[in-house]
Amino acid sequence: MRAKDLLHPRPEGLYCPPGDFFIDPVRPVDRALITHGHSDHARSGHAHVMATDQTLQIMALRYGENFAGATQVAKLGEVIEVNGVKVSFHPAGHVLGSAQILVEHKDCRIVASGDYKRRADPTCLSFTPISCDVFITEATFGLPVFRHPPDTEEVARLIKSTEQFPERAHLVGAYALGKAQRVIRLVRDAGYDRPIYIHGALAKLSRFYEEQGVALGELLPATLEKGNKGDFAGAIVVGPPSAFADRWARRFPDPVASFASGWMRIRQRAKQRGVELPLIISDHSDWDELIETIAETGASEVWVTHGREEALVRWCEINGIRAQPLHLVGYEDEGD
């Protein structure tokens, strides 16, 4: 069977004709397999949804219990047949519950990896390379300029800054699912034991992480009564990045704007966003990890999606691997 007959892009998302299902569709469909809970991959309104237990729970938290007509839990590693096509879910290391999906049919193995990262993350299971014929990779940071430093160094800079500027609140922008909890966990691992303040948008998901066994230490709501600005002096406050550009941020004393993202590697990006303390902490693979992963899967063909496809395609060509950009619409290639 030719790979492109087993999976190919449609306006709704990546479609499998023999199995009659979509992977991470961006519009409501009859049958959807979902890699992880970020909102551009996991949408509500499908008739049937198959995903890991944690991803299903995250979707229920975000969209309410009735986010899909019916749901089916995919256990990691378990092979499930969908209309004669074998599918199995394997850890992707991106956020809690995230998975790659292996689709197998008539001697053709394709891995749709969703979003993934390779380095250790105390808040989710690590990526396992799955051998396959075609590897579908993201390319969010698919340029040689993106090489994430060790996250311990980044967190150490944050903590040093709270000591250097004890009168200022440190506002850390981090996406609500995954990044925020990882940053908090890393700060805890660095020995920081003061309360950490969180924006309301993080509360539900952080509680869910704790229920799943990821201890986050003392979290307090970053709300306050009128006139006690001083309470946040020297504190670490975590919230979604959008909140820091918003009126919400005005309650904090002379804040240090920080942002945890792989994009912070580029100075101009940090500058444009008005970020004073960039933290290069990403839930996506950097360039070195992308090419290392492609090599490890042993894939003879690579499809590259959301991000900077051309550099990764070029690298594959130089290294004798067939590669092409896979034009899927609707994913935020900026999200990190």
């Binding site: 340029l143 040689p144 300029v145 993106f146 090489r147 430093p149 800079r157 250097q164 500027f165 820091f244 550009a245 918003d246 009126r247 919400w248 941020a249 005005r250 002379d254 804040p255 704007a257 590697r265 580029i266 100075r267 101009q268 940090a270 500058k271 444009q272 966003r273 008005g274 970020v275 004073e276 303390l277 960039p278 900077r308 051309e310 550099a311 070029r314 690298w315 130089i318």
Partner: protein
Amino acid sequence: MNRFAELLDRLVLTPSRLGKLKLLTDYFRETEDPDRGLALAAITGDLTINAVKPAMLRALMEERMDPVLFRYSHDYVGDLAEAVSLVWPAPESHLRANRTPTLSEVVESLQTASRSDGPRVLARLLDSAESASARFAIIKLVTGGLRIGVSARLAKQALADLGGVDVNEVEEVWHGLSVPYLNLFAWLEGHGEKPERKPEALFRSVMLSTPVENNDLERLEPEHYAAEWKWDGIRVQVVAENGIKRLYSRTGDDVSGAFPDLMDAVQFDAAIDGELLVHDKKGGTGTFSDLQQRLNRKTVSAKVMEDYPVFVRVYDLLQEGEEDLRPLPFEERRKRLERFISELDPFRFDLSPLVEFSDWHDVDDKRKRPPHPVIEGVMLKRWSAPYMAGRAKGPWFKWKRDPYTVDAVLMYAQRGHGKRSSFYSDYTFGVWTGPEENPELVPVGKAYFGFTDAELKQIDKYVRDHTIDRFGPVRSVRADRQSGLVLEVAFEGLARSTRHKSGIAMRFPRVSRLRWDKPPAEADRLESLESLLDR
């Protein structure tokens, strides 16, 4: 090197002056000699390293990486130094140095490298750096120009903070010092003598004035004060001693190199204080925008010197021969100055004339209607005051003419930094141009202060409610003849500019009033600004 790299990374993104000072003082405190002195020299521009050209960097890169991938990377990042620092491949682990070199090791390798050896030495240093930040700092050192938004003056303030001394003290000793400033740090940290000023044409900290504010003059007697015009040039100090001649800016930077025409005319042993100005074609006093042709240059061509000859309008004499005149009253210094200046080349040095006046009302009239466009007000100097460094209130006042104003329409707003990062606080404004019946707005300037915190909130709300487009941190605000916010903008002057679509550049624009009441169609037209240009 890692600490220096971290310092650069933080400084470039820290908007507030206080934040920068804190980062600098902490760095100087925590870093040992000679690294901190070298860092200081790099920041103040006093570190000389043979430059590596961008083409050479690119060539180094292409030996190590697929040129196509490098081109994608460079296009994406924009800045060559940053792109190279990010993609530079780490050498095989057994070939790697076991630590990042210190700043002094880096500087020494670079300074001792011959021109032909330069690229190889640079490559070795980049191989030995552990992080992209360290590589970036190394490349910035060899390509010149750190561009971190720290002036020499700010660095000196950080040193003063480190030692708990006045910044004027640092400036006074500055020119007797050399890299890496061991005796300076020893003094500031309390385990060394204050560095001696070497007796060679040193800078003297300048005396500054305070603005005339409400009621300041009521209690003062007009006859105790002299008045002079306040010329709109650059404050300078010319010092010559034992054949050594220097021209200093008001912060003590030696700018002699860019003004050989003036320095040739320095044939005396003295220190004088005055305003650097330029002659116009007819031998009169040229405008500030003419003067700008001579500023911010390291060297100058003969053509530019001929077209824009500079001179100093002198208003004080601080030293004559061996004698320090600063303790003398202004009245005495002025007499000595008048005698002294009659001996000098009148094309290069002239005397700032005194302005006759009867009472404060008369001064007020004169400063409002200055007789020459390059005058920006009046200076008042107490006859009895000695020359004192710093900005004491009383001996010297400046009383500026009222600023120009224009009614302009808000066009774009950008989010601020630091405390203002959640506010749209930087405003680009425009005036009308084109046919009367169908005019369009053309941007003429940008202002980010002049309003109160309460007004900032109001404008911020206005921007959010009237956004028609967004580009990153910038919002485009609805501005047409029916709807728009009119800002009264005050400014100090205009210069022609080829860089702006409107053809003009404003000096020191700030918002002076919010004209919520004024319909945008009634804002000013470009012609009214252009008429100011020709004055």
